[in-house]
Amino acid sequence: MAASDVKLLGARPSPFVNRVQFALNLKSIDHEFIPQNLAEKSELLLKSNPVHKKVPVLIHGDQPISESLVIVQYIDEVWSGPPSLLPSDPYDRATARFWAAYIDEKWFPLVRDLRNATDEQSKAAAVEKLFEGLKLLEDAFVNSSNGKGFFGGEKLGYLDIVLGCYLGWVRAGEIFTGLKILDETKTPALVGWAERFASHKAVDGVIPEPEELVNLIKMFQARAAAAAADASTK
């Protein structure tokens, strides 16, 4: 299939976009990456995802698909040859989907809380909550990997993509707060996994460097502070 048949509307720092990039890379799918300016959304983005107006959007032929987890499953089902992203057994698939929902709905918002924490006390509280979640994910990893290197076993799979996309932001959060989130004394299996994940060839070069993300955090905080100042002077 020609590269122009598969387009990805995205923004490099978005972990949700990165997920789709991992999936496309793992499946060796030729595609065109169309970077989006999220402050000034393009006609194409608004037309392709009118409901949410967000990235990522995968455009396959002329059909747009939105929501990163929906897109990754779509990729797995359309390009169904190896490597498979989701396990084949229905129970294992349900387990992977369960943890994906947990990661997105419960765990990653905690990373956001950390980013938004302004004082030492709220930072420490946010990291504590993150640890509790990571413990659950450590157990999930041990159960899922069956002694191998990834959630997917010997190869990268769905859950590796779902959690791995956040590693840049996790590292940026560590630099920004000076606090350790991925700690080998607390979640050793995940620390080992994170290193293997980051060096995988499908992942290499996709996630921006933590320093770039730290700058973005500083920018978000400055904007939030300015907005708050604006609101209070009105």
């Binding site: 987890l69 499953q73 779509y74 089902e77 359309v78 229905p90 698939r93 349900a94 929902a101 947990y102």
Partner: protein, 224 residues
């Protein structure tokens, strides 16, 4: 060995109803365990240690949690009477809309339900916008996937019952036949469908439950 299927649910949980309907559509026999969420059973906590919520489907001793995850599990395990479309693009759309229903639509309707009078107008705008989006999806269709009930009908099924209950409590009409002809028609078809209609929780009990809930929220967030 016969398969053993158990469903942990509550009498009112809209998420649990999805699974009740799915199992009925597939003709699967199962045991029901009704939970009191103020006094959770050790079994529930053992089967869903992460969230301690319903529904939980236990199949031959193995628990599956999160209603949309359970729906896909049921569909993949018992392949007759498929709930999800076979085509990958149509399947993606189904998953997309189910997420929209839970993340955006349900939230906006809940927000309206617990809004103080002064905030009701703004909350209503969001809820109506989201309902309009669903209305668009139903144009030219009896059910979300066409002629027969499927995944998205089960995902949106709560609308058919809960919205009229909330409307009665709020004395506010949200889904009227004029603004939402397709949604209203879908509600009628869904609510009366043989597989669906005997499963609704008792309406009077629901009214009391949600009335109490609303009063609690309004009291807790009394404007200064």
């Amino acid at each position: 060995m016969a398969e053993e299927v158990k469903l942990f649910r509550t009498w009112s949980s809209r998420y649990s109803l999805r699974i009740v309907w799915a199992l009925k559509l597939k003709g699967i026999e199962y045991e029901t365990i009704f939970e009191d969420l103020t006094n959770k059973s050790p079994s529930l906590l053992q089967y869903n240690p992460t969230h301690g919520k319903v529904p939980v489907l236990v199949h031959d001793g193995k628990p599956v949690c999160e209603s949309l995850v359970i729906l896909e599990y049921v569909d993949e395990t018992w392949k007759h009477n498929p709930l999800l479309p076979q085509d990958p693009y149509e399947k993606s759309m189904a998953r997309f809309w189910a997420n929209f229903g839970d993340d955006k639509l349900m939230k906006s309707i809940s927000q309206l339900f617990i809004a103080h009078e002064k905030d009701q107008d703004v909350a209503a705008v969001a809820a109506l916008e989201n309902l309009k989006i669903v209305e668009e999806q139903l144009k030219g269709k009896k059910f979300f996937h066409g002629e027969t009930i499927g995944y998205l009908d089960l995902a949106f099924g709560w609308i058919a019952n809960l919205v009229s209950i909330l409307e009665e409590i709020m004395s506010l009409k949200l889904v009227d036949g004029e603004r939402f002809p397709h949604l209203s028609s879908w509600i009628q078809h869904f609510i009366d469908a043989p597989v669906i209609r005997d499963c609704w929780p008792p309406r009077d009990k629901m009214i009391i439950k949600y009335q109490v809930m609303r009063e609690k929220y309004l009291a807790a967030a009394t404007p200064k």
